[in-house]
């Protein structure tokens, strides 16, 4: 068979989730290259959309890839650069953040951002018996963050007694989340639940809540299933953290594997593969626990 020269373009490991993406991408390279001698995988990490566009260009013109798995920094900004790679004849699998023009991709493998926002909202509503105060920590202003937030608020709309007191950006950063949480705690004397749109932020929020010694908070809900959080759920070591929503960076591994194996056989992938986001709780936590991954 023809050799497959697969390029992988992902954001740099600027926070833990992306650290996980990097880990799983490298994992895939290691395992798959060992299994298939006709497969060559080149991984590039970018610090921003422009750099990612540059790297796509380099992968295409210099590394001469014939298949690409790309985790776009931003949907709109990378549509054109990805389309250019496809135009040069490479098979393109887009991961996680869909392009604005789907004709620029051959296949799409994604997590479920709507569920990422919906599941915590539903869980919180249920746990609070439809009544209580919630605050939210958002990520960095992006389309992705908007999707999650919209899904979250949509659920709350249906339950007017669950009040979203405020939502502020924590920038997917532990320190910023810590500060914002401190100030939320100063501002609101009655908070029942915290939602942080990322486990990094949940971690910072938790520290601030512990420091303040506030007992009113019954629920801290993070997101994406970081190993530390999953461990807490497994061990039941913190009554406020009983659930999480899966959004494992492992899907990059799956996407690379699927694409590589399909291309080696000369096959195509289904146009869209959604890797569902599901509720992680004590029951299924062990399936989501990857102690070796950095995330």
């Amino acid at each position: 068979a023809e050799t497959v020269n697969l390029g992988v373009s992902i954001p740099a490991a600027t926070h833990s989730f992306m650290g996980g993406i990097n880990y799983w991408a490298n994992q895939a390279k290691k395992n798959l290259e060992a299994q298939h001698k006709d497969l060559k995988i080149t991984i590039r990490t970018a610090a921003n959309a422009t750099e990612q566009a540059n790297q796509l260009q380099d992968l295409s013109t210099v590394n001469k890839i014939n298949a690409l798995v790309v985790f776009p920094f931003e949907s709109a900004a990378l549509t054109k650069p990805v389309a250019n790679v496809k135009a040069k004849g490479a098979y393109v699998t887009v991961v996680d953040r869909g392009l604005t023009d789907t004709s620029a991709q051959d296949a799409y493998v994604a997590g479920d951002n709507t569920a990422f926002g919906r599941i915590p909202a539903e869980y919180i509503v249920k746990k609070l018996n439809g009544k209580g105060n919630v605050v939210a920590l958002r990520g960095i202003p992006t389309t992705l963050d908007n999707e999650r937030m919209d899904a979250f608020t949509a659920v709350l709309k249906a339950h007017p007694d669950v009040k979203l007191l405020d939502a502020k950006y924590g920038n997917w950063n532990r320190d910023d989340a810590f500060k914002v949480t401190q100030d939320f705690l100063t501002r609101f004397k009655e908070i029942d639940a915290f939602w942080a749109a990322d486990d990094d932020m949940a971690f910072g929020a938790m520290r601030a809540i512990n420091q303040a010694g506030r007992k009113d908070i019954k629920l801290i809900f993070g997101g994406a299933g970081a190993k530390d959080m999953v461990k807490v759920i497994l061990d039941g070591s913190d009554p406020r953290i009983e659930a999480n929503v899966s959004y494992s960076p492992k899907f990059i591994y799956d996407a690379i594997k699927l694409t590589a194996e399909a291309r080696l056989k000369g096959e195509k992938l289904p146009p869209t593969t959604i890797i569902p986001s599901v509720l992680i709780d004590k029951g299924n936590a062990k399936d989501f626990y990857y102690p070796d991954s950095p995330f």
């Binding site: 740099a12 490991a13 600027t14 926070h15 833990s16 992306m18 650290g19 996980g20 990097n22 880990y23 958002r138 202003p141 405020d166 939502a167 502020k168 950006y169 920038n171 997917w172 950063n173 532990r174 320190d175 810590f178 500060k179 914002v180 401190q182 100030d183 939320f184 100063t186 501002r187 990094d200 971690f203 910072g204 520290r207 420091q211 530390d228 991954s293 950095p294 995330f295």
Partner: protein, 343 residues
């Protein structure tokens, strides 16, 4: 005017053009050096008006505590800026030091059999590492004669890259037993005032003492004001420069050793943009980027002012969250304008 105080004096932009009378300028000078303080008082008034919780002891304690990191770094940065230098790497330096300290403690805890010893050694390591990184900067800048901007832009990338590498892109986390032992360094308090605030106060006091009351401090100001004159006055310019970057490094080390117990982890986002906050504190506090002037008091006020702004923004939701950064920007420019007279 009994004691000539160098660091609050104005730069004479020559006797350029029409110069206003001296007495007037020294009055306006004094007013101007109050600029940041006035700004701070005004902000606090606004904060209290917007949210009555602002003026609570709890909230102010929170603000001061979180200012401590940047504040401590800013004290060191103040020396570097008065010297006429700059350091862009402090944020990633802090991140790398935090990472190294965590790795060390995690290893040393079991290895030495004494978590306490491990934590103590780790804290010492933070300061030593900081000073060592500062030494590298100083040598490259003073002996290698490379622009400080370039050297520290380079190490900005280098430090963070190594942290990312050590952390495998994820986070380095303190083992649980040592974390508990270490926690009081951040979470503890003494006489009702949190430990980091005490440390901040100490660092600022010692910094002010060094800057104003030692020969070394005088040399720093002399070099920043005019390096050639300092060299001809037999000041060992290279040594002072190296020492100053080491001092900043040590401050970063101290800030980091307070920071580690807060989250007990270091990740590639740790310390992001701290350099901007630290430099901004120093300059909002009345220093000039060209060197030669600046004060520790101003720096401390500047640092507190910056964190009060974001605290107030967090305590209110009168404007769109998207515009938070804009409000911060406007306030910074406004405060700087309050002290424009000084130039």
């Amino acid at each position: 005017m009994s004691q000539p105080d160098i660091n609050t004096s104005t730069t004479s932009v020559g006797k350029a053009g029409r110069r206003s009378a001296n007495a007037k300028s020294s009055l306006s000078e004094r007013l101007a050096s109050l600029g940041p303080v006035l700004g701070l008082i005004l902000l606090c008034a606004v904060g209290t008006a917007l949210n009555s919780d602002f003026a609570t002891v709890d909230n102010l304690t929170n603000v001061l505590t979180r200012t401590a990191f940047i504040g401590i770094i800013a004290v060191g940065m103040c020396f570097v800026i008065i010297l006429g230098g700059i350091d862009l790497s402090v944020g990633s330096m802090a991140a790398l030091i935090a990472g190294c300290v965590i790795m060390f403690i995690n290893w040393a805890g079991p290895a030495l059999g004494s978590p306490l010893l491990a934590v103590l050694l780790g804290a010492a390591l933070a300061v030593v590492l900081g000073a060592a990184f500062g030494l590298i900067h100083g040598v490259l800048i003073a002996k290698g004669r490379i622009e400080p901007f370039i050297v520290t832009l380079g190490t900005l990338g280098i430090f963070r890259a190594y942290l990312t590498y050590f952390a495998d892109g994820g986070a380095l986390t303190l083992a649980n037993d040592t974390a508990d032992l270490y926690a009081p360094v951040y979470y503890g308090s003494w006489l009702g005032v949190p430990v980091p605030v005490w440390v901040f106060l100490m660092v600022a006091l010692v910094g002010a003492l060094i800057l104003n009351k030692t020969a070394y401090g005088r040399y720093v100001q002399a070099i920043g004001s005019n390096e050639a004159v300092a060299r001809y006055a037999a000041v060992d310019v290279d040594r002072i420069k190296i020492l100053t970057y080491m001092l900043l490094g040590a401050c970063v080390g101290i800030a980091t050793l307070l920071y580690v117990p807060r989250l007990g982890s270091a990740s590639p986002t740790t310390g992001l943009l701290w350099e901007l906050e630290a430099i901004a504190s120093v300059i909002v506090g009345g220093a000039a980027l060209k060197g030669g002037q600046g004060s520790i008091t101003g720096t401390v006020v500047g640092a507190i002012l910056l964190s009060v702004i974001s605290n107030i923004l967090n305590l209110t939701s009168i404007i769109s969250v998207y515009l938070n950064a804009a409000v911060q920007g406007f306030v910074i420019i406004a405060v700087a304008y309050l002290q424009k007279g000084r130039r």
